[in-house]
Amino acid sequence: MAYEGMIAETISIRGDNNEPISAYAARPLGPGPFPGMVLLHHAPGWDEWYREATRKFAHHGYAAISPNLYHRAGEGKADDVAAKVRAEGGVPDAQVIGDTEGSVAWLRAQPWINGKVGVFGTCSGGRQTFLFACHTKNIDAACELWGGRVVMSREELNPKQPTAPIEFTKNLSCPLLGLFGNEDRAPTPEQVNQHEAELKKHGKQYEFHRYDGAGHGFFYYDRPAYRIEQAVDGWQKVFAFLGKHLAA
């Protein structure tokens, strides 16, 4: 039996504007080289599910980091911090882009990286993953899972989210994987159609998988939205996609 181990810990990295932010990092023990993954947490916060998902990527051979996009809201339990951020209208898109770029830079500076880095996010993190992939040339793959509000009405735009991410599609810089539930209301199947049409229009490399019998957040095993068949298949799709695009 081969020895197996990983290191998982909270660290501090440089985020947007070089400000220190907290992050959770996990990687297999050993010299690597490992492909890198940045995980952008969902609206419910930098929580236990995202700790587990970060370790899941490490289990599959990735060096993974999940930056705390809500760091500036203060210390506290994930649900309390997320409630504070919700009351503040979310976090600014520009700040998330800076924090994600900082996470990618941290990974790329490590000696055990194979030179490839991907980004993964669910819910608001799915939206932010797509947004970031349209604002960087520094990553090799992006996994957007049920990103709500990639398509935004004019009324939904605000100073923190001034432009709908779909408007940046022409700048998408890497292959994109999208997983969506056909019973989701944010994004709706119609919004996913618009998202896909824009990707096609600009000749982008993408694969979308759209699941019947699933709504929003169908990976979350501790929520009623969990759908075991779709989640098992979805995780397989994620790792097949990343295996293709992040191998050295």
Partner: protein
Amino acid sequence: MCTSIVEIVGAAGAGKTGDGWIDLTHSVVSYDHPHHALLEEAITIDFVNAALGPGARVAVELTLEAAKQLSGALARAIAAAEIEEGARLRPRR
């Protein structure tokens, strides 16, 4: 946050957190993913003290139906309270 439905009003009063009572500054009402209630979306109400950090929060997550009942109960109680207050202010004969 996937719905962007958030309503915030000032609050004067007190709420009891796991660590004891706090003075309140705001009530935050939203329709969003709950953390604990087994619902896809819930009416969430947070009574907070914005100056004391994220943990200064009294939280509930309700079904839409339960929130409507609560809203009705609040309206009835407030209407009755205003009658009571009005009676107190009327000069006695």
